[in-house]
Symmetry: C2
Subunit: 333 residues, 2 copies
Amino acid sequence: MKKLVIGVDIGGINTAFGLVDEKGDLYAESVISTKKYPYIDDYPAYVADLCSAMRAMTESVSFEFELIGIGIGAPNANYHKGTVETPANLWKFRPEETNCDESRRIFPLADDVSKCFGGVKTLITNDANAATIGEMVYGNAKGMKDFIMITLGTGLGSGFVANGEMIYGHDGFAGEFGHIIVERNGRECGCGRRGCLEAYVSATGIKRTAFDLMAKMSAPSRLRGIAFEDFDSSMISAAAEAGDPIALEAFRYTGELLGHALADAVTITSPEAIFLFGGLSKAGKLLFDPTRWYMEENMLSVFKNKVKLLPSGIQGKNAAILGSSALIWQQQQ
Amino acid sequence: MKKLVIGVDIGGINTAFGLVDEKGDLYAESVISTKKYPYIDDYPAYVADLCSAMRAMTESVSFEFELIGIGIGAPNANYHKGTVETPANLWKFRPEETNCDESRRIFPLADDVSKCFGGVKTLITNDANAATIGEMVYGNAKGMKDFIMITLGTGLGSGFVANGEMIYGHDGFAGEFGHIIVERNGRECGCGRRGCLEAYVSATGIKRTAFDLMAKMSAPSRLRGIAFEDFDSSMISAAAEAGDPIALEAFRYTGELLGHALADAVTITSPEAIFLFGGLSKAGKLLFDPTRWYMEENMLSVFKNKVKLLPSGIQGKNAAILGSSALIWQQQQ
């Protein structure tokens, strides 16, 4: 009988999920709102509704199959414990709550979902780690034992693989490369600190850079006509393609900071390749060229011209679902 | 029959080696000069003399034993290939050499030594990685799956362990944490670049800091009476113990830079503990207190107050020999 896995991608707005085989083919997919369940006491209803939607999806498939597991990608997920712990944008305290003890916001999501499906094996990790395993199982990292995945979305996520294994770390939260400090007392970051890499290198980071450059440079730019609120990082790509000097400088600067940071990361894990994944990486040469240049320029000589900087092989709308399902498939290999 | 391993520690001045059992007890030890063989064409004689000295040591033991392997710690060692590659201070080109193609300075040391001992299993890695495995086999990291070792000698070496395995990286040279850049265009480093962590945090780094502070501060200090050439980092420890303001500030600044760097390293591998090893770490509280403070102060909240900062458990004169022998013992477990 065909074996399938449910891959689940939990975002702040929606939760998408699909039935995936070992080759990464998708047999059914569906989505529920995450935003509809904003508060801590909404969590049980979220789990119940997610499970019935997943159940309905499995019943929509016209052939018989064996469900061998469920893989979940979610913010602040702890792989070792199967929990989502104190997520910034999910299941928050209600504004009127007086007991805001964060230890109450540890959600045993893997167990709760597994129970709805007769105890089937359920694994959870953060979305960047899920994408990393997706790259290893379906993408361009097949057969690689040592690589780094950088996911460039609203923030900067990362996954480090060494000796063929994902580095989850002692507490299950490893791979927060977006939060190395690249500028002491630099830009405010969502984590409450200052100068984190993701405050510069991410969709929101490059937007902040563009606004900084509009202040610093006097060159004309089509970006000067757009308000901060209306601004989207894809506008910088479009402007750069048209030769806009502010937009080009924004990409150069982004590549400089990312290249420096990657040269440092290479000294630690000495990867075969580094993959860039997610929205901002679709800017292609605009981002890859300066990143590669600054990475090589700053590399310790023993690592120079050895480390490949490559686009992810699992880009596309179902990448996150595939990545989550790969959590299970990886263990079948 | 008792099983023993030869652990070999190759330094720029001497090569020390000893016969070690699985508990870390030393049954014999000896040493030859490394400095006596400075040039590339001295390498064959070095190997021959090292092997006969090792042979003599094994024959000096009064009981019968089985030699199960040889573990070697050496600069620029490639674990995967068993080679020492383009070491800065070993087997250099003669000054009159015209063909300085560095690919000629790749020495297959593990194979060469193994051949002298009938093909016995011989593994090689750099001294910091050897110390890391020593910590895992004999020291305070027993049973830990995820930890970081920082060795503070003339330079700063490191070893990263994740999922219970040493991270050697794709090319076998991982763990060069001393060469992350902590200050753009900062101090010149022996690697040819500027601003590397080891130019600040190491025995030579803190010496440079003391001289920088003697220029910046006007406080009186007993260190002002010592010339750069005569200066040794242990003088800073002694002065700091006596309350010398320059020496105290030198330790605070060293701890600040190391603490910042470790907070960044934690975001990547999320270790259970970080161990400090080697000469400078013997300064104890003087170094540990500011390092711990700045590490916690700069830590991403999810990692705060979770990561232990500890002294190595294999300090002492034979630590390097034990570490090298652990390369073999680790694989017996």
